[in-house]
Amino acid sequence: MRYDKNRSTISRQDNEQLALSKVFIVGSGGLGGYVLEMLARIGVGHISLADGDVFDDTNLNRQILSSEDVLGQKKVEVAKKRVRRINSDVVLNTYDDYITRENVVERLQGHDVVVDALDNIETRFLLQEACEELGIPLIHGAIAGWFGQVATIFPGDRTLDSIYQHQEKTGVETTLGNLSFPPALVASLQVAETIKVLLHRGETLRRKIMFLDLLTQDVHVFELDSSDA
């Protein structure tokens, strides 16, 4: 049985719940590829993915869906093939363009959780706004160099307002770049948060930020005030 190794931790009923769940991954780069891999393997039944990019050789250092033989191919097309090979029970709905102010609400509507796997801060605020309007939890993740951060944002929390005080368009990743290992780590934490939200289990990073510094192995979780708490 595919999910035998899940059983002690995630029950058959839990897996049935996951199979009915709908998760939207926004971005299919460093974070999005790993998030997709893990959500498909654990059995989230309906996944949507949006990314308008094609693979190029600068993706090979970190993006799990990239390989030399798919350079030039659309990221979402490669994602489709990967998911089909991992778990054919998963319905993957793809968009080979970007999330914009014009399409964000229509795209995200009907999903249970949205995963932020974006590479820019500006669009993250669009997600926060749309998720608030639609009442959908948003799992934030971001990376730069040796660093990463994760937060779980419920409608009304507006956590991004606290972690990007100046609504910057981009962060220190523009100078630091991105290495091979922070995407896998941050994506794992995002998937853990997603599964807990879907199954109403455990404690989440709601109104908190987990900040990871892998250069010094400093991991901190800080409480953040909510705008309406």
């Binding site: 971001a142 962060g171 220190v172 930020i209």
Partner: protein, 74 residues
């Protein structure tokens, strides 16, 4: 008064993980950043005593600031 500042990620470069900054009574985090030569625009997260704080909030002796740059890659 002395304010302890915990720096994170790139803000540690040439400054270290933790520094003590001497500022006037009722100084704000903006004053502390000025001493550390950190532009307020480079600060994405500012915590006072581990909680979300404002750049213009008056500080009291013993306050601990935590300061983070924006991390936005994916």
């Amino acid at each position: 008064m002395k304010i302890k500042v915990r720096l994170f990620a790139t803000l540690r470069e040439h400054r270290g993980k933790e520094v003590l900054v001497d500022v006037e009574e009722s100084a704000t985090p903006l004053d502390v950043l000025l001493v550390l030569q950190i532009a307020s625009g480079d600060v994405a997260i500012l915590l006072i005593n581990g909680r979300d704080g404002a750049l213009d909030a008056p500080l009291v002796p013993g306050d601990v600031l935590s300061v983070f740059p924006p991390v936005g890659g994916g």
